[in-house]
């Protein structure tokens, strides 16, 4: 594995990561409360007016997606910083843009009464039937834009730092080793993962930056009737890529921490590199599996959505799950909260992928679309996979990790 050559992490960098995670843990709890509130309302144990229910649903969705992105980016930043010289200032700038965006989003929802769902599907932001005003919807959309700007800065800094050390994204993805049998040393798993993430997320943020502004234009000038299908495609490309990329960022905690527990290195072989390259493409191509009931979608796009659904979870997942089992097997690993959570997270990720693949089958989707199956799948995937990874990393960051001499 490549040596850790970046300058030592300054205290402000470590504090930054801790602040990312502290805010995330707090918001996770708050969002859980909102989730429970919605379930209680559906069970008629608590009475929420329909408008308030959808406001809560919008806040829960936007909050969970945003905070998952923030926490996961903190994890990957922490480990990537060991190999390349990332900017601590940009880490904090991302947080500032994020918090500013959160204020705008909460204002849009709970002051402006925007309740159109976190996916802001066109033409909903502009057609509220009087439930919310233009200002509420605009505040929500500007909030998302602000968060997007922050993450764009962060991922561009990833790109800058990786390019400075590896000179090209192809090298950072290990393409010379994968395609040319190069004798150069392969990049470490964290660098490969970060390169994949920056590629897909910059593309997603670009799509989001286009579609959010177009919907804002439509809010104030409805004569600009944007194509709802194209808008939906761009929205899902942006949103699905962003939430999907969170698990690939948090996964780095498994790659970096578990090997320390077992005293074995995480193997970077051609299968590993091929898996990450394939996933780079698939993460960007899989979103049409959410549009299977949009019958006006071109058939080829739906076919790609279904086929890539079968395949998307497999490369990195299969390689990671197999490697996790093999490096832990007969390693004499000492189980504690960190190692336990990280190990369980791979199970949670696997278990969460299965219902996603099932729902990606058109025949199943025909029945399951707009049922609780969909939120069920991604809650399982995120809580047992992503959240377990994040909490494993949080335990690692505490004294518990350093006492074991893991760093």
């Amino acid at each position: 594995m490549a040596e850790q050559t970046a300058p030592p992490l300054p205290p402000s960098g470590r504090i930054g990561v801790v602040v990312y995670l502290a805010i995330s843990a707090l918001v996770f709890v708050l969002m859980m409360v909102l989730g429970v509130l919605m379930r209680l309302s559906q069970a008629t144990w608590v009475e929420l007016s329909p408008n308030l229910f959808y406001e809560v649903m919008t806040a829960h969705g936007a909050g969970m997606v945003g905070i998952s992105g923030l926490a996961a980016s903190g994890v990957i930043w922490y480990f990537l910083r060991r190999y390349v010289d990332l900017s601590v200032g940009i880490l904090w700038a991302n947080l500032a843009f994020f918090l500013f965006g959160v204020v705008l989003i909460l204002g849009g929802i709970f002051v402006g009464n925007y309740a159109g769902g976190w996916t802001f599907l066109f033409p909903l932001p502009g057609t509220s039937a009087g439930v919310w005003g233009t200002g509420g919807a605009a505040s929500y959309l500007f909030g998302l834009l602000s968060i997007g700007v922050g993450f764009l800065l962060l991922y561009l800094d990833f790109a800058r730092a990786i390019m400075a050390r590896y000179r090209s994204l192809a090298k950072a993805l290990g393409w010379p080793q994968l395609f040319r049998n190069s004798s150069d040393e392969a990049p470490p798993p964290t660098v490969v993962a970060a390169t994949m993430v920056l590629i897909v997320n910059i593309a997603g943020i670009l799509a989001g930056a286009v579609v959010l502004v177009l919907i804002l234009v439509n809010l104030y000038a409805p004569q600009f009737a944007v194509d709802p299908l194209l808008t939906k495609n761009l929205t899902y490309f942006f949103g699905h890529v962003f939430i999907n990329a969170t698990i690939y960022q948090a996964l780095v905690a498994v790659y970096e921490i578990l090997p320390k527990y077992v005293g074995r290195s995480w193997p970077v072989n051609r299968i590993f590199l091929a898996a990450w390259t394939a996933t780079t493409l698939m993460v960007m191509a899989v979103y049409p599996h959410h549009l299977l009931m949009d019958f006006v979608m071109p058939t080829w796009a739906l076919a790609i959505g279904q086929i890539v659904s079968y395949l998307a979870g497999l490369p990195v997942f299969a390689v990671t799950a197999w490697t996790t089992l093999t490096i832990v097997h007969r390693s004499g690993i000492k189980w504690d909260m960190t190692s336990g959570l990280l190990f369980v997270s791979i199970f949670g990720w696997s278990a969460g992928i299965v219902p996603a693949i099932i729902d990606g089958v058109i025949a199943v989707n025909h029945v399951m679309h707009n049922t609780m199956w969909v939120p069920g799948h991604f809650h399982m995937y995120l809580i047992l996979g992503l959240v377990a990874m994040l909490f494993g990393f949080m335990y690692y960051l505490t004294d518990q990790g350093s006492r074991k001499g893991l760093d």
Partner: protein, 204 residues
Amino acid sequence: MTPLAALGDRWTLIAIGIVAAIAGTPLGPALAGTMLGHVLVQIPLLVAAGWGIGRYLEPRIDSQLRRWNAGGIPGILLASFAVGFWMIPRWLDGALTDPIVNAAKVVSLVVLAGMPLAWSWPRLHPVARGVVKIELLAMLFRLGWLYVISPDRFCNSYLLTDQVWLGRGLIVVGIALGITWLVPLFWDGFATATDAGAAGTTTR
């Protein structure tokens, strides 16, 4: 040194030639005859000419520049506003109907957009360059989309079909620029990687 050579290198001469051709020959009105030619050919040519002239002037006024153009940010903002101003349909129309507005367009795109761009781009932090590039792509796609779907004409001087062609052109330019910027990020390192023939591979 010939008087012509004293004006600068070959690129500076080409830049001055472009400005002269657009300002003083039928090329300018010919390009402005269509919305596509006006926005996607004439305006970028004037900015590029300003860049060429700015490149030549930079070493001569470097110390003054450093004072007000820290990190290249003020210059990039100035250039963005100057180009943004000439994206306003009202002023595109004005440039076609009023020679003074047209002269202001030529001068401002050269002096306030192209030259500051040349002075600022090399000083800009790589992350800021990335932001400018991504925002430029996003703006090309947004404007292109708006021009294609707009039910009304933005400019009195151009037809609705002209506007649709410009919209398509902006989207094509956005895609082309995106590919142009993306490919070197992958290709450069890939092409120079060491093959395994000379030494044993370290990748299993």
